[in-house]
């Protein structure tokens, strides 16, 4: 195989060279990274750089994609280590803090002295007319926020026992609590719940996409590689599925999941439903790539050399369209995350005691309570929207980088 690809690469880099010259002539801003625009030595570097190296260079220039990637890494880390990041148990409730607003975090005290992050003592009183709780800060008592502090015991991933949390108040402080995003109507810490929600909501998108990918690669691959009647049948099936509007279809399918299923079963049920629709998009991308690659010289060369079909697919075709697959994979994750959120919001997806962003949104459904506690809506909504944006940016960057030889 190695005799075909380097040549292919070289031709393509010449094409790239040419097009960059053209763009100089056209007066358009030169879209070549510093490494590529340098002197002769730099040029040499481009010639010898591998496909993935070129992609990385191209991706790196996409600033928003980098930002998206960083946001996602942080979110996924929070989701993965939610027991550690969350200061409280998501089910632990503070009776005195029903619908308490976010706790202000201070760094400088009343005299302007730098104290590190701390909170003031909060007193609760009640408004005589509206009967709403009012929280006032008592500026005389200061509770510093500690990092790696001892708190409620937990089992990380159900395996390792620990009591250490990323941050929190000292364990001996009673009846005071730090709520980064406020508390819900039962006095549970919304930030902790968001952390736990991240685990379900973010992973459901990933697993769903990988299921779709598996189905999509197999069926799209068969469809694109063999063509003919198999192709027609698979394409028709895809058409039928895509004809039914997605959200009503998801609703109908998830209504079929028994409501009394345990969380884990429900989780996989929802994932499968999401990917039942998702694979069609994947299959189209894969098929399209197969169709165009089938005509390529290096595939023909491999076939003439006597490679088996399987080897041609795995060794020659998949690597050359993998980058496209990764890009469209990334772009289809937000849809699946939103699918889970929407279904859970409707009460058809995950249900309490499961904690996902959709479940949290559903708890924020009551408009009247929202007027008093908007963080119940904005906490989960901002998390979801940030994730969607981050994935869109990342996906855009990846899609541009997927073809490093283009313009």
């Amino acid at each position: 195989m190695t005799n075909t690809e380097p040549q292919n690469r070289k031709i393509s880099s010449e094409v790239m060279e040419e097009s960059s010259i053209m763009s100089v002539e056209a007066g358009a801003p030169l879209e070549v990274p510093a490494e590529m625009a340098g002197g002769a030595a730099e040029e040499e570097r481009i010639y010898v750089a591998g496909q993935w190296q070129l992609m990385w260079w191209k991706f790196r220039r996409h600033k928003m994609a980098i930002v998206g990637a960083i946001i996602l890494i942080v979110f996924y880390l929070i989701g993965a280590f939610c027991e550690f990041v969350a200061p409280y148990d998501p089910e632990a409730y503070f009776i005195r803090y029903k619908m308490a607003p976010p706790t202000p975090i201070h760094i400088f005290d009343a005299t302007g002295k730098l104290r590190g992050p701390f909170i003031y003592h909060r007193d609760r009183s009640q408004d005589r007319e509206t009967l709403r709780d009012i929280y006032t800060e008592n500026r005389d008592i200061i509770y510093p926020l500690h990092f790696f502090v001892k708190g409620s015991p937990y089992k990380l991933w159900g395996i390792w026992k620990s009591e250490i949390h990323l941050f929190g108040l000292a364990p001996d402080i009673e009846e005071q609590a730090v709520f980064l995003v406020g508390a819900d109507r039962m006095g549970r810490d919304l930030f902790s719940r968001l952390c736990y929600g991240a685990r379900l909501s973010l992973s459901i998108g990933l697993i769903g996409v990988f299921l779709s990918l598996a189905l999509g690669i197999v069926l799209g691959g068969i469809s694109g590689y063999y063509g003919g009647r198999v192709d027609t049948v698979i394409q028709r099936v895809i058409e039928f599925i895509r004809t039914i509007p997605t959200i009503p279809l998801w609703m109908a399918l998830s209504a079929a999941l028994p409501a009394d299923w345990p969380v884990v079963k429900m989780y996989f049920g929802i994932t499968i439903i999401l990917s039942l629709v998702g694979w069609t998009g994947m299959a189209r991308v894969v098929r399209g790539r197969f169709l165009s690659l089938r005509q390529e010289d290096f595939v023909l060369a491999a076939r003439l050399c006597g490679s088996s079909e399987f080897r041609i697919i795995i060794r020659h075709m998949v690597p050359s369209f993998l980058s496209y697959i990764i890009a469209s994979l990334t772009l289809s994750i937000p849809g699946q995350i939103l699918g889970e959120t929407g279904l859970s919001y409707l009460g058809l997806g995950l249900r309490a005691p499961a904690i996902s962003w959709g479940v949290l949104l559903q708890e924020a459904q009551n408009v009247r309570s929202l007027a008093m506690a908007p963080w119940l809506l904005f906490g989960p909504a901002v998390s979801v929207i940030l994730t969607v944006f981050a994935y869109n940016f990342l996906g855009d960057g990846l899609r541009d980088a997927a073809d490093p030889y283009a313009r």
């Binding site: 058409e239 039928f240 895509r242 004809t243 039914i244 509007p245 997605t246 959200i247 009503p248 279809l249 609703m251 109908a252 399918l253 209504a255 079929a256 028994p258 937000p334 939103l338 959120t341 929407g342 919001y345 409707l346 009460g347 058809l348 949104l361 924020a364 408009v367 009247r368 929202l370 007027a371 908007p374 809506l377 909504a381 979801v384 929207i385 969607v388 944006f389 869109n392």
Partner: protein
């Protein structure tokens, strides 16, 4: 042209048959049926369950029969008598419940499409002709945000803002006194007053997408030699842009109108639940929950039919603007 349209319609028929089967099977997926869950609810609340009544209802709805018999009865009812079956929960024929809701769904989606094009095309063309200007960056940023914001969350935020700032409950398409009233001019005017919030929410996503498509397409066209030629001949810039590149750039709109409609209807379902609009969303959700299968099935089927029709419309439009397509087949 007529022959082409007829051929396309003929091709729709097998699709429709398969879709009707799919919808029926999907609706039958939950274990048990409406009557079992109905009886369970009665028992749970301590009411007496009249077995004879249940049996007669079972008979009437054809529940106990094998699924293909049920499907056959449902389908033949629709085709021969326009009878979509009985809604078990509402104790009414489905057709009495469904048409007004579907009409509003279509109406809302069409208005949303019109609004999104009405906004997106001028903005997209402006962005393309003023590439890298401040308004272009502004519009691009806005369209990126719009494309990423899910409609139903936007709807929730809009509800919150209206509640908080104006003390209004913006849900629904009608004022209270008109919800059950028969259609009249006053009811229509009342609906128009409520319409703008759902339309803006529903149209936002597709508007944002359309702005990006228009901008990219027009930009592609603007660099072509024929534009340069026209300019060299002294054609006024405004006339030149709108007469040629924009027209070519519109092609993808025609080819995707079917999918746009489908995604609008799909997204609209969720928004409708949040804003409690009198479209398919809330009623379908309820029917699905209570396993009111003929009602839910009819919704699922009709929504899919809308998509099929949308695809047909976009094919016809495409053939109309592009002679190569209609000649080919």
């Amino acid at each position: 042209m007529l022959g082409y349209i007829l051929r396309r319609i003929a091709m729709m028929i097998p699709t429709l048959i398969v879709i009707s089967m799919l919808s029926f099977v999907i609706i039958q997926l939950p274990p048990g049926d409406y009557l079992t869950s109905y009886a369970a609810t009665l028992r749970a609340t301590g009411d007496a369950v009249d077995e004879a009544e249940l049996a007669s209802l079972r008979q009437r709805y054809g529940l106990g029969e094998p699924i293909y018999v049920q499907y056959y009865k449902w389908m033949s009812g629709i085709i021969l008598h326009g009878d979509w079956g009985q809604s078990m929960e509402w104790r009414k024929p489905v057709k009495e419940l469904i048409w007004e809701r579907m009409a509003l769904t279509v109406f809302l989606s069409l208005i949303a499409i019109c609004v999104s094009w009405f906004v997106a095309i001028p903005v997209g063309v402006f962005s393309a002709t003023h590439q890298y200007s401040i308004p272009d960056y502004l519009f691009s940023a806005l369209s990126f945000i719009g494309a990423g914001t899910p409609g139903f969350m936007l709807a929730m935020v809009v509800m919150w803002v209206a509640m908080r700032q104006f003390g209004l409950n913006v849900g629904g398409l009608f004022s209270e006194e008109y919800i059950l009233a028969p259609w009249s001019w006053a009811k229509f005017v009342d609906m128009l007053k409520h319409l703008w919030i759902p339309v803006v929410v529903i149209a936002l996503e597709s508007t944002a997408g359309s702005i990006r498509t228009t901008r990219a397409n027009v930009l592609d066209e603007l660099n072509k030699p024929y534009v340069e030629t026209a300019r060299a001949k002294g054609l006024r810039e405004r006339q030149l842009v709108w007469k040629y590149p924009v027209r070519v750039a519109m092609n993808p709109f025609f080819s995707t109108v079917g999918w746009t409609l489908a995604s609008l209807i799909s997204g609209q379902t969720l928004v409708a639940v949040v804003l409690s609009l009198q479209t398919n969303g809330p009623m379908m959700l309820r029917a699905l929950r209570s396993q009111d299968m003929y009602l839910a099935g009819s919704f699922l089927f009709l929504l899919s039919v809308l998509t099929v029709i949308g695809t047909l419309v976009s094919d016809v439009l495409l053939a109309w603007v592009d002679p190569r397509i209609r000649m080919e087949s």
